[in-house]
């Protein structure tokens, strides 16, 4: 772990906190930043027109689009100018992606959307965020529900928002999602990787925070009546990962995610047609089309439990099946218990 990485982390922490402070009284901050309250809509429209005019001028003179945006941005008000400049820079390809395709700047651009869901939609209460190691490898193991990986997104927000040294966790995504257009590109940019032990080991060896959902699609696709009953933890592959790399396991209990898409049944035919692992039928989906994919506003609690250190077993223990099952069961019990406790602590599901 290099020093400058620590610095980068601290810098991110500072920036995030600034963001939060800025958006603290929601809706008021952007107004305050506007140069003058007298500036009316007409003026804004004129600025936009000027911008477009200059843009055309510049492209006619032979600059390519990013350069033209850069030049024309001068006419815009300060806040819009920064956005235009950033867009121009990104259009030039002037941004960084790590070897996994993770684009930190992009992740921070979409972060406010997730934060809005976190605060307003699901009113998430996060407990024990400080149990997440602030540096080095760690495996976050959580219960999984909801058809879309909202739980992973909310766990990320919880860490980025409340951890003293926040960092972007990486998460394992069912490979089916990587067959889909847009979804695959989006997931990769915000830190998703194909669920594969090779990927997990490589990420852990790089000192990353890796989120796994051992229930897999069985968890995501369980019916509403089965909510908060953890499914079997696969073959315990995550324990194997932890043993092999020496990474601590942080059990995470997510309460609330299991109500966002109450699955009443499923359609085998549609699953086969779409190639999806299962095709859920909820009160709203697929009857309302895309609108049916809007998650219900349940109330959430996320608890990060104390890390379990397995490094004393040594990497050779990764071949010991019995030990793996035993440890896997232990982690599952921890999460199940924490889920039930938080279920009680949360109270009513939607209010």
């Amino acid at each position: 772990m290099s020093l400058d990485r620590h610095d980068a982390q601290r810098e991110r922490a500072r920036r995030l906190r600034l963001d939060i402070e800025r958006s603290a009284p929601p809706g008021r901050a952007p107004e305050a930043r506007r140069p003058a309250p007298s500036r009316g809509d007409a003026e804004a429209a004129r600025a936009a027109l000027d911008f477009l005019g200059l843009l055309r001028e510049a492209t006619r003179q032979g600059s390519d689009l990013p350069a033209a945006v850069e030049r024309a941005a001068g006419t815009l008000p300060a806040s819009a100018r920064d956005i235009a400049r950033r867009a121009a820079r990104r259009l030039r390809g002037d941004y960084t992606q790590d070897e996994w395709g993770f684009d930190e700047e992009f992740a921070e651009i979409v972060y406010p959307v997730f934060e809005l869901m976190y605060q307003r939609w699901w009113r998430v209460a996060a407990v024990g965020v400080e149990n997440v190691p602030s540096h080095g490898q760690a495996l976050l193991v959580a219960n999984h529900a909801g058809v879309l990986p909202w739980d992973a997104a909310m766990m990320s927000v919880a860490i980025l928002k409340h951890h003293p040294l926040p960092r972007h966790p990486r998460f394992m995504v069912l490979d089916w999602a990587f067959r889909l257009p847009w979804v695959s590109a989006f997931m990769r940019r915000i830190g998703g990787v194909v669920a594969s032990p090779y990927n997990a080991i490589r990420l852990l060896e790089q000192g990353q925070l890796v989120m796994v959902f051992p229930e897999g699609s069985k968890g995501a696709g369980k019916p509403y009546s089965e909510r908060y009953r953890l499914q079997r933890f696969g073959r315990g592959g995550f324990v194997e990962l932890a043993l092999r790399t020496g990474a601590p396991i942080v059990p995470v209990a997510v309460v609330g995610s299991e109500e966002i898409y109450p699955k009443l049944g499923e359609s085998r035919l549609l699953a086969r047609l779409t190639g999806a692992p299962y095709f859920p039928l909820t009160p709203t989906f697929p009857w309302l089309g895309v609108a049916g994919a809007i998650p219900l506003p349940s109330k959430w609690r996320i608890e990060f439990c104390e890390p379990i250190d397995l490094s004393h077993y040594g990497p050779d223990a990764a071949d010991d099946r019995a030990l793996i099952f035993e440890l896997s069961e232990r982690v599952r019990d921890t999460i199940q218990e924490a889920v039930l406790q938080n279920l009680v602590a949360r109270g009513s599901a939607f209010l």
Binding site: A67, Q97, A185, V194, Y198
Partner: protein
């Protein structure tokens, strides 16, 4: 005693460049080059053997050269001048078989280095990122070229098993990026409008044009047994690559991409091989640990390869790209 090397496909870009480098080093006392057309004139001490690699006569020729190292560059990833597309399979598979038969007869051979391809891993959506060498053949070999490479690797593996005294090294190359190289990939990247697949943004990995031959040279000097990936560390997404190069992407629905490429080739756009469809959808990245640790060669990263390629591309444009550099760009 110095080393004696035979290079197949010596008149291609790879063979010529390798011969040129080995010629400079007196440690290589004898260099022979095999091809069907003569190499560029500036190769001074390489002995040119005009022969078709598919010809059984090779078994008589090779023992006479008494070489200790055979570098097999005559593995065609793309059609080259003088070698028609229909011959690719023949040259890659039958040629390799003949070469191995000849190696069997040549008792002096201690090392065989093959320029293979990372295409054997397959560009699949559910593939792990960064394939290590032991992860080949996890996915079906879908295209003709992939199957050829698979077959070729089998032959060399069998040979290595039967003749343990010979070090057989299979280099699995990622695509090479450089303006000096004329390949479907560089032709594709030279177009001002580049077809892509709607909604997909694959992670790609390249070898810097100069490192491509250096890796070959390093392998001749310090061969390792078995397959070794050759690529620049890291990756680049296709969308970012196009933006850096100032290209305009033309997204085509993924199902139509193959057909669009075919149609594009007919009206004069770059022709891409069939494996490019999957490659430009899912991407393919490999781990380069073995090359760095065991061969002791660290190629420039993919990012560097891209930077150099883009700089050269822009340098060759007739019109300056950003005439007002410094006005707004400094912000």
């Amino acid at each position: 005693m110095g080393r004696r090397v035979l290079i197949t496909g010596v008149s291609g870009f790879w063979g010529t460049e390798l011969a040129r480098r080995l010629e400079r080093d007196p440690e290589f006392e004898y260099i022979a080059g095999l091809d069907v057309r003569p190499p560029p004139a500036d190769l001074s001490r390489t002995e040119f053997i005009r022969a078709d690699i598919r010809n059984p006569l090779l078994s008589k020729l090779l023992p006479q050269t008494e070489v200790d190292t055979v570098v097999h560059c005559d593995v065609l990833l793309v059609p080259e001048p003088g070698k028609a597309p229909s011959q690719l399979h023949d040259i890659n598979v039958i040629g390799s078989l003949q070469l191995l038969a000849a190696c069997e007869k040549t008792e002096t051979v201690r090392t065989i280095v093959v320029r293979g391809s990372a295409a054997i891993y397959g560009a699949e959506p559910n593939a792990p990122e960064f394939f290590t060498e032991d992860m080949a053949r996890r996915f079906p070999l879908r295209t003709r070229f992939q199957r050829d490479i698979g077959e070729l690797e089998n032959y060399f593996e069998n040979f290595a098993r039967r003749f343990p005294q010979v070090t057989v090294m299979m280099l699995r190359y990622q695509p090479t990026l450089g303006t000096a190289i004329d390949s479907p990939l560089t032709r594709y990247m030279r177009q001002s409008v580049v077809p892509t697949q709607l909604g997909y943004d694959p992670l790609l990995q390249f070898v810097h044009a100069e490192d491509a031959v250096s890796a070959l040279e390093a392998s001749v000097r310090r061969p390792a047994r078995g397959p070794v990936n050759v690529a620049g560390e890291g990756s680049v997404s296709l969308s970012r690559l196009l933006r850096l190069a100032g290209r305009i992407p033309l997204p085509v629905p993924a199902q139509l991409f193959g057909a669009a490429l075919g149609a594009g080739a007919r009206i004069g756009l770059a022709r891409l091989p069939p494996e490019a469809v999957m490659w430009l959808r899912n991407g393919l990245t490999v781990d380069t640990g073995r090359l760095i640790d065991e061969v002791g060669f660290r190629p420039r990263s993919t990012a560097d390869a891209v930077d150099d390629f883009v700089a050269e591309l822009r340098g060759r444009r007739a019109l300056p790209d950003r005439p007002v550099e410094g006005v707004g760009a400094s912000a």
